[in-house]
Every structure is written in C-alpha cells, then in structure tokens.
Subunit: 371 residues, 2 copies
Amino acid sequence: MTETIEDFYAVIPAGGIGSRLWPLSRADAPKFLHDLTGSGHTLLRGTWDRLEPLTGPDRIAVVTGRAHRAAVEGELPGIPDRNVFLESEPRDSTAAIGLAAAILVRREPDVIIGSFAADHVIRVPHLFDWSVRQAVATAREGYICTIGIQPSEPSVGFGYIKKGEGLIIDGAPEAALVDSFVEKPDLETATEYLMARSYLWNAGMFISRADVLLAEIEANQPELHAGLIELAEAWDDRDARGPVVDRVWPTLTKIAIDYAVAEPAAAKGRLAVIPGHFDWDDVGDFASLSKLNSGGRKENLAILGSNARVLADAASGIVVSQTPRVISVIGVKDIVIVDTEDALLVTTTEHAQRVKGVVDALKLTGRGDVL
Amino acid sequence: MTETIEDFYAVIPAGGIGSRLWPLSRADAPKFLHDLTGSGHTLLRGTWDRLEPLTGPDRIAVVTGRAHRAAVEGELPGIPDRNVFLESEPRDSTAAIGLAAAILVRREPDVIIGSFAADHVIRVPHLFDWSVRQAVATAREGYICTIGIQPSEPSVGFGYIKKGEGLIIDGAPEAALVDSFVEKPDLETATEYLMARSYLWNAGMFISRADVLLAEIEANQPELHAGLIELAEAWDDRDARGPVVDRVWPTLTKIAIDYAVAEPAAAKGRLAVIPGHFDWDDVGDFASLSKLNSGGRKENLAILGSNARVLADAASGIVVSQTPRVISVIGVKDIVIVDTEDALLVTTTEHAQRVKGVVDALKLTGRGDVL
C-alpha cells in the first residue's frame, strides 16, 4: 500500500473561512491555516501529508484565494507552482473543483481526481488510504465516487448518504451505489441511521475521472461548465490567463458540488460510495473542536495554543489561547473560551452553532475589523 | 443638614488589594482606585465626596501605602499634604486607624474620628449623612460607635452586629448598645436575622473620640499602642518622622480593629451602634459587582468599562472590559468575564469567592507578574 496511484491527482479546495470558529478562524487566517489538534501542523499540512503517499508531491493541486497564496506555499513547500490554482474571489465548490478538473484534464486526459477539504481532521491514515484506493478503482469504471464516513455516534450535525445496491468492482470490495442524500436528521433519526449501518456521513469527498466530473457539470450547469473550459484553455498560458480570469471567474455560478454534481449523479445511478472506517471530523464548530481535543473525556478542559498559560479549577470545555495572557477558568462546564489579540469569545459547546450569528452581527454593526 | 461637624475628622484607610476582584484589582491598581459602578469616579473619590459635606476638605485623612501616594493625591486634589498618612507596609486596620487617631489627637485633643473604608459603595448619601451625625453625637458621650447596615436581604456574605439595649442620646435617636458580633451565618440563620430586624451588617465603620479609641487599643494591645504613640509624637516633625517610621512601623502588631477594639468594647458595654438605612455594599467579589451593576435584574448582562465593545446573546452576569477587544458572549448565565491586558478571568457569580484561590495559586506557581 505504499505505492502512489499513477493516474490519480488530489485536489484540495482551500477556501472557506470557518465562521463558526471565529475569532480563531478569520478572513486572513482561515481554519485550514490553523493547528486545531495540537499536532504541531496546520489542517492544510495534515491534508497534504495524508494525500502525498497516494499521489506523490507533484500531483496535489490546491485551489485557494489569492490572499492565501503565500501562506499556502509556506505550509506546502513541496507544491509545484503550477499546482496552485488561485481564485480571484470565492465562487463555491463546483467552480473550485471544476476549475481543477478542467485544467488537469487538459494536462492529462485520463486523469482521475479526488477532492478533499483542506480543513478536516482524519485519524488512522491507512484506513483513509484504503478508502481512497477503492474510490479510485470505482472512478476508473466511470462512476463519480464519494467516501462516506461510517458513523461512530448518532450525529445531528452532518448530512447523511444512504448507501444503495452493492457494486462489483475490482479493487473496491466495499463499493456501492448511492441511494440518496439525507439532510441533517434529528437525534431519533440519527440513532436509527447509526443502527441501520447503511447511512454514512457526507464528508464532501469526491473522486472521479476529471472528464466524467466535467460532463456532469455540463449536464446540470452548462454555463458554468463553459466558463470553466474557457478558463482552463487559457490557464497554462501565462499571458492569456490573467485577462480571462478577470473576465470569466466573477461570472461563474456559485453552487455547491453536492447540488451541481452529486445529487444529479445519484439520481442517475452514477454516484458510488466507499465507506470510510477512519475517524473523521470537519471541526465545524467549537463543540466539535472541544470534543476533538479533550481525549474523548467530557470532564476535561481542552487547551489549544502553543504558549497557553491556563489556570483551571472545576472547568470543562475548551480554551483556545492565542495571546500570552494568563487565563483563569473557574467553575464553568462545557465552556468555550477563545482568546485572541483583538477579540474574545465566551460561550458553551451547546451554543457553539450560534457563533456564526455573532459574525453576521459584527458585520452588520460595523465591527468587521475583527473578522 | 448641610453644615460640617466642627469637631469631626474622617479617616479613610485605603489599603487592601481586593484579591477576590483579580484581575481587575491588582497590587498596583487596588480596588479603591477603580470605578466599579460606572459612575465615572473611583470608589476612593466616591468615599471622599460622601464625607466632604460632613467634614470639609481639610478634615479628611487617608491612610495608604507609599506606592499609592501619587494615585491617591491624583484622585483627591483637595486633600492637604499633612492628611496623607503613608504606611511603609500594611499592618492591618488597628495600626492604620490607630495611627490616624494618635496623630489627630495631638493636633486636636477633643477630636472625634470616623473611619470609613475607601472601597465600599454607598447609595442615598443623605441617609449616610444622618447615620454619621447620630454616630458622632453618640461618640461625644464617650462611646465607640459603629454604623451597622440594616439588611435588605438574608446575606451570608457579611458578619452581623446584634443590636442590644437602646441608648438615650441627644441627636442620636436610633443609638443602641451592641450586644455582640456574629460571624457570617448560613442562609437559614441569615433569614432569621432579617426577620428579627435587630441584626445589622458589620460594615467596619467606627466613630469615636480619638482618645477613647486609643485608650481601648492601649487596654487590649499595649505594645501596639506604645508604637502608635511613638510614631505620632514624631509624625508632624518632618526631620524626626522618617527614622521613627522605619524603626517602629514594621514592629506593629497586625490585628483587625474588630478584634483589638470593637469586640472588647462591646463586651464592656462601651460599643454603640447606629443603624444605617442606606444601600451599602463592600463589593467583596464579582457576584457582588455583578449585582451592583445589573440594575437588580438577574437576567441582565452588566458591562463595566468605559470603552467596552461587547456583543451578547442570551447572556447574564457581568463583563469587565479593560481592553479595546471585542468581547462576544453567547448563551452563558451568571457569567463573570474580566478582560485585562495581561490576564483573563472566566467564572460564574456562584464561584466568585474562589477567585482568591486563583490568586494564591498564581503566587505559588511563579506567575505573580499578573497579580
């Protein structure tokens, strides 16, 4: 399992600020540029390190905003220049992944691409590796393939993939068709899903031939597809690229790949799924971050920050320290404290989802300087 | 009631850091130098403003540490130089008030002094005024007189004074003997005290002839008394004072005036009490500070800090902001957040008393830089 996959290319869309992790995650320091597990490296770097054994260093592309170019290249010194695809502004995931597909298919017509978010946490890399290899084998058969995470608890925070009929594919013993996508359920339904074992968490990983992916975009979003093709044709020509990007990129339809590709493909029986048996988390909010860093023990106070000076007494939850200040926490349960130079957040894991509302309120009240 | 009291001198002991208000209150910025009510002036200044109508500006003395001289004089520009009594180190309240008594009695043998803490909050000043005038009238009769606060709720946070037999004193219709002092009670007992109406909160205010106070100190603490007399004899002689202070002050017995004066005087039937009908709080901890600043409404989030930038959603308690940072508070009840340049405290009003333990822990673990 240590060989790279010859016809495979990984794409890492590194957009998205992670508003629900404010004030840790910011416009100028988005989630993927943070170390959220105390591992000593950023989530982006962790994503690279997980993919590199599958692709080699020359076959990973990152799609990111112009503002993050330097930070991304700093984190990934091994990335070739031509594999950093810069967006002039965010146009959602179909544009980001579709652009990568359109560029890469011109370089290599039979290429299989897999897109993996820059800001997820995955543990047990050899199980991830095994799922990707099965997904690539499935993609070679012409399917668009996703990796759905086998739930470890009845989560109400994720969307689900309902697994359908099994597929017989060489090198992918666990491949199955996707029956349908299911919205975030309530706890009772999530518990049924967990018991049923045929519902998987939608982790937004898509593996397919680049040409198959583009054909699906073309079928559902022809204008967007035309824009992507025009961009790709100019992309590897340094003189031509700039004007085309300036003209075309801002016109691209903003749509998530789930709607532009995955759901229509599922409806046509062209979407496959491989179950992922690894630990996975999208670190969507501070409740998730707290859980991820507390060693699974609810009574713990997790502390994130390389120079944290925390004095705690009868406290649980998480403290994120980005300043040299002494932080004293007394008698608070499931607390979330995020201490940064210009903003402080105090909430509880229960209310972690409401952080996004604060970000919206800060924008509305003219305090966007701290976003 | 607008005339000053001719033979009266007020003494403000301004010592004590207020450890339970850390990190707001510090060694170099003790409680009395803070505005804890949003009034726009410090507690020390508030104390001065309350006393000045009773004494005039030339008859208020402040006993404080050398380190606080500049700050005290800055807050009280009207105070005469000779009325700032500087301690070389804290030696508890009997030394502080006794020193003032010993100095003032040499200047004016029949003087009546009243000592009032620099860091208490009192509302309804005309009722305070009326209590002090009664206490002075009682002191003229040779009693040591305290002002006990008529409880407004069954507090378990204060010591109580049990009122005894009424006294018949001209100008002091409410004067009574003190039967005894009672330690902080449990809630049930405090409720009985509230119903009984003969139990008053011990607010540490003592009014008496200076010579009577000194005689009581002499009877109970003869060595301490001798030291105070020696200090006072040298005090108003600029050349003599320094060496005597250096030699004698560090040897003075550290004892609270409650033990050295009030309890023995009560036992001898020489301690009188005037009930205070004004709002009073010693702002002993953040629970008290929160209550004081929330307009009496438990569901409010009180905000203290002239430049506070607080965004709150479903939060109650108190935020003290001493930095320009945006503070976002979501879904926390009875929270206490104190945000200062080098230290942050997060606790709840319920655990406010435990803050002192943190201060001790910071000392022990070598983080005294933030105290």
